[in-house]
């Protein structure tokens, strides 16, 4: 278990966004996301204080717990288990998602999100688009817009929060 944890953490560090997207998509279609959240939450609560101090990356831990739960659940339901424990296979699956329904959903989500970004204040919008579309760093954006990197980060947080709040309205 401990070893696996290390491996998952490493995978997460590399493929974080993809991994989370992957299992969230799975969860959305094969398991009630509410159940997952509850179960993850309970496991978080069960962490002993001593162990808590030793968790090097709580985020990786969080996603590891969630990913393992998804996998356990898949095995229990005998529905398309996550494949073997081989991480490489998992990664391969990540690269080629094969659920057209989920793809439709994600396109719709992306369009909605794109429209929300468009409605942000000009500054938030500029910062978000330059960062996520043009892959500019905070520092590059800061120079371009003559603001501090700190402000860039603030606009990112502000913009993401505004988008997320509005996305929640769709749920």
């Amino acid at each position: 278990m401990r070893e696996k944890h290390g491996a998952w953490s490493a995978l997460f560090a590399e493929k974080g966004a993809m991994l989370s997207k992957y299992f969230l998509r799975r969860v959305a279609h094969r398991w009630d996301a509410q159940d997952l959240v509850q179960e993850v939450y309970l496991r978080l609560l069960r962490i002993e204080p001593d162990d808590a101090a030793n968790i090097r990356s709580p985020e990786a831990y969080l996603f590891t717990v969630a990913a393992n739960l998804v996998k356990e659940h898949a095995v229990l339901r005998q529905q398309q288990p996550l494949g073997s424990d081989e991480l490489e296979q998992v990664v391969e699956q990540l690269a080629a998602p094969a659920n057209p329904e989920a793809d439709m959903d994600s396109r719709l989500r992306q369009e909605r999100l794109g429209a929300l970004i468009d409605r942000l204040s000009p500054k938030c919008k500029a910062v978000l688009v330059m960062h996520y579309r043009d892959e500019m760093s905070y520092r590059e954006i800061a120079e371009r817009m003559s603001i501090s990197t700190n402000m860039v980060k603030k606009y990112i947080v502000k913009g993401l929060a505004a988008c997320r709040q509005r996305m929640a309205d769709y749920e």
């Binding site: 989370s20 939450y41 709580p58 996603f63 999100l113 500054k123 688009v129 993401l160 997320r164």
Partner: protein, 370 residues
């Protein structure tokens, strides 16, 4: 008051979202040990935190694709953003409605507002001035200054300082927040309401606030508007009762835009040129001392912000909600900031346009980022 419970729930959801996003963004660099503990603690505080964190992670996965739908070039975006600052806030139609989508003052102000909202109920009962009607969500009330300068908190969290013999009429409905300065001198620290713009009418002019602190003085010789911090747009509106005003069309009638430290005379037929204001002189009518007993730091900071173009921004809600007592010279927010710096886990950061009050662990992140 079921509206207010609903409002509270929405505000709480918003706060959780903001926290989840902040934590998510923090992970881009390795967390400090203190942050790791704080993050785990946050996750364990509520299943809603866990759920929201997942939701943010999921949304984040869509961001590149979503942002790539944007047709404008980065040059065009930067140019738009530059035009946004600071003068032209609402380029024509639609802007007025779109603006509230994007909170300008951040989380702290809202938390402060939450507390201000609680205070409002108390003050209403205690004032007993003017009249008080509440039908289908409308609020109407007059407030008059009495023997001394009075501080009034309106239901939306707006903080008004009223000079002696001053009178304002407040009219809130589902669409707009309208305040008329009937006479005297009033200073507004406008609460954030994402749905309803705030319009303050003064004689033949209407001031549209954009999250800000400003002073209105009505005299027989003419009216004066001074912006302490934030921005204000002055509009010409023939019917100052604003009864039939179409909110979406307001943007086109702008006659002036003021930013922090600027002042303007509002004549009957015309308005004067913008000029730099002597803030100390403008706020001379306010009490020289700020006295507070068991008051939240957030509220005390707002009171200081009436006197300075460099507002104190409490960025940490725990700090903002902490209660303190004391007396300070109102024209010396630095002393207050220095006092805050002596509190445990509080850091004060001076910036060119504001003084940020953050939690110590928060500063560590900022420092490690730069």
């Amino acid at each position: 008051m079921s509206d207010s419970t609903q409002f509270d729930a929405a505000r709480q959801a918003r706060r959780i979202t903001e926290q989840a996003v902040s934590w998510y963004i923090e992970q881009q660099e390795p967390l400090t040990e203190r942050q790791r503990v704080a993050f785990l603690h946050w996750l364990r505080a509520s299943p809603r935190h866990v759920a929201e964190y997942f939701a943010v992670a999921q949304m984040h996965g869509d961001l590149k694709a979503a942002a790539s739908l944007q047709a404008l070039t980065s040059d065009a975006l930067v140019e738009q953003a530059a035009r946004d600052n600071p003068v032209i806030m609402f380029p024509g139609m639609g802007g007025v409605m779109r603006k509230p989508d994007e909170p300008r003052t951040g989380r702290v102000r809202r938390v402060v507002m939450a507390m201000a909202g609680l205070a409002a109920a108390v003050i209403m009962a205690w004032l007993g001035v003017g009249y008080w009607r509440s039908t289908d969500g409308r609020v109407q009330q007059s407030y008059a200054g009495d023997a001394s300068v009075r501080s009034v908190t309106l239901p939306d969290g707006t903080l008004v300082q009223l000079d002696r013999d001053s009178l304002i009429d407040v009219h809130f409905d589902g669409r707009l927040r309208r305040i008329e300065v009937v006479r005297g001198n009033a200073l507004f620290d406008v609460g954030k309401d994402t749905k309803r713009p705030m319009l303050v009418s003064v004689g033949g002019h209407v001031l549209q606030d954009i999250g800000t602190v400003f002073d209105v003085r009505r005299e027989s010789s003419g009216d004066t508007l001074t912006v302490i911090s934030g921005r204000v747009r002055v509009l010409n509106v023939p019917d100052t009762s604003l009864k039939g005003v179409d909110v979406t069309s307001l943007g086109s009638d702008a006659v002036a835009d003021l930013t922090a430290g600027q002042q303007i005379s509002l004549g009957k037929a015309e308005i004067g040129a913008k000029r730099p204001a002597q803030i100390a002189q403008v706020t001379a009518w306010l009490p020289a001392d700020i006295r507070f007993q068991h008051e939240t730091i957030g509220n005390v900071a707002r009171r200081f912000n009436a006197y300075t173009i460099k507002p104190l921004v409490i960025e940490n809600e725990h700090i903002a909600s902490e209660r303190i007592s004391g007396i300070f010279h109102a024209n010396n927010p630095q002393a207050f900031a220095a006092y805050l710096a002596t509190l445990p886990d509080v850091r004060v950061i001076e910036e060119s346009d504001r003084v940020r009050i953050v939690a110590s662990n928060q500063t560590e992140t900022k420092a490690s980022r730069l």
